[in-house]
Symmetry: C2
């Protein structure tokens, strides 16, 4: 595997110093920023994540901040999810689509105040979309990328570690809610969210100067909890069915194809971009959809391109993420499958770089 060339364009984060000291072995690039992918090994990182607690540099989840009298209106224009009852203190997973209903991003919206939101984005320059929408609609709203870098604390011991640094108030934060908590005299947004199914929090570190002090405080407080540096884990996120924008869905796909129809209120979201394009699929359902796929046999390599799913002589879908699961003793995968073949138990063939393999549609993800 080739190395990644250093340049300012691939941005470092407020936590990079800690990540390097922890011996990061692999990176990806996400929103023009370094995102670690492996420390010890994907398998060892996976085991540790499920048993202990990890600190993740997810600064690459950049924020798009909306601020001003039209902030709430703009937020609703951006998504087919109905935001009319969203309260300050709440986080919502919001599909964002273009005028044709194609997915542009699948971020988490954070409502800070009635007239102030953060959109915590997946890997596309959503800032450019939002700025141009605000400009074209002549809205009174400021749209910027603030100096805010999320740090995730994930794993079964996450709550204990967080309580040691932020106090027992963290235990009262409900799922997809946040509170303002203090660290070194500064107010930080702490949400019960994160890109794993092991439980945990995301701290929105407001000011790069706080990055390493917070990193160090967490590691000092968590020594006896066996805290380690970690990162989103390929195996765990596939087992859990956590989709990855750019991998498991692209602008080619509607939210309904991605299984995100439950986050769309297309009838109600009058005025949202893409509504006309989505109304029919919202009523009738999609022709293909994301499914959990088991791939039989020896461990498969990472999916660096789509692998065709075959039934007889026909391509009926594709696998877009795959990994060998130690806990489930098989290859777990995420695929997009045509409605003719998406029922649980359907047996297919997947063309992997190691050759054709038997595969089967599962009734649900593994966790």
């Amino acid at each position: 595997m080739a190395v990644i060339a250093p340049s300012r364009r691939i941005r470092r984060t407020p936590f990079s110093e800690g990540v390097e000291a922890a011996g990061v072995k692999g990176y990806t690039v996400y929103n023009h920023m370094l995102l670690p992918t492996v420390f010890e090994s994907i398998q060892a990182d996976y085991r540790h994540l499920k048993d202990h607690v990890q600190v993740w540099d997810v600064a690459c989840e950049r924020q798009v901040e909306l601020r001003g009298p039209d902030a709430a209106r703009l937020m609703q224009i951006l998504t087919p999810r109905d935001l009319s009852t969203m309260q300050p203190g709440q986080c919502l997973y919001v599909p964002i689509v273009d005028e044709t209903g194609g997915m542009l991003n699948d971020p988490v919206a954070v409502k800070l105040e009635e007239d102030r939101f953060w959109i915590s984005i997946a890997d596309s320059d959503l800032l450019l979309w939002v700025k141009a929408v605000a400009h074209g609609y002549r809205l009174e709203v400021s749209v910027e990328e603030p100096d805010v870098s999320p740090l995730a604390i994930q794993g079964p011991k996450a709550e204990d570690l967080m309580a040691r640094v932020f106090g027992d108030a963290v235990r009262d934060i409900r799922f997809f809610r946040f509170r303002h908590l203090e660290f070194q005299g500064r107010d930080l947004v702490v949400a019960r969210t994160g890109y794993s199914k092991q439980g945990g929090f995301e701290i929105y570190v407001d000011g790069s100067d706080l990055g390493m002090p917070l990193w160090q405080a967490l590691f000092e407080a968590g020594r006896d909890l066996n805290v380690r540096a970690g990162c989103p884990n390929l195996i765990e996120r596939i087992e859990a069915g956590l989709l990855s924008y750019g991998n498991d869905m692209t602008r080619e796909n509607t939210p309904h194809e991605c299984g995100l129809g439950r986050f769309c209120d297309t009838e109600e979201a009058i005025g949202c971009i893409g509504r006309d394009a989505l109304l029919r699929v919202a009523r009738e359902g999609p022709m293909q959809q994301v499914r959990a796929i088991e791939i039989v046999g020896d461990p498969v390599p990472p999916c660096d391109r789509a692998w065709p799913l075959i039934a007889g002589d026909n391509v009926v879908g594709q696998v877009t993420s795959a990994a060998a699961s130690p806990d489930f003793d098989t290859n777990v995968a995420i695929g997009m499958v045509a409605m003719t073949h998406w029922y649980p138990g359907t047996e297919l063939v997947v063309e992997t770089p190691l050759g054709a393999r038997p595969a089967a549609v599962q009734d649900r993800f593994w966790i």
Copy 2:
């Protein structure tokens, strides 16, 4: 240096197979796609580029295609450069700015027909900006990313190699012009452009299936010309003063700060986005600007973050790209310098990871 983790999100290109067979050693990620950065070594690649001819996989220069009755109007809304005299067959370097005059991208616009353009983009999702502008302005235009992947042929022997594959018609293509030439019965746009100062062409490969056949045809035709796989070379592009979006300029900067004022006709470009914000700087000039900077002493490492430029006790700018130049026997660099210190010969200090170093503002780039 850490390796880059494979995933579908970091897209392969139609030429990746050839790049891998040629022994690529380093990559960067550019527009969510793999871009090679080194084959033999940066120094050996540099020497070869200046002496022979190279084939570059620059598929990551993705195209934003504008097509329809409002295509030309949209193109002019996007840039402060006056496009009123632009002809089909012409390529123009066009700064694209947001409503505050901040650089969003520095692409090359390719006018295919009166109602059809390609925008060959640098590293930001300009597609999202352009789609939202077209939507907000209610323009009658289609905005898409077509399956078009540029392949660059660069170096002093580029014209000879190209003539063997496309015929002597390539010799008549003028700088920043293109022609339609045939390869295997397919019509391809071939432009005299490219991200080096060694001369050469970019072939807009229209259809991924043509990628490897064209790659192989070029290598077979160029064996006695010592053709090799190459890539944009860090040393050569700094010597030549070729800026890199994300490295030497960001959304923080106006085109005038980037030395791109000569590509702005802000007075004339009535209706372009950012005009109000740029009029004053267009008249009065910027407060800081890009400069060629020499850094004295032993070779410096690549610039993975901005290095402060110091005069006395004050930060007066920053270096954003740097490399040791074999031909000029010094460290060549690109920096942004305040007007108080931007005159040629001004002596400064630059804070590199190897410590403080003497630096001097040059009157021009090295080539």
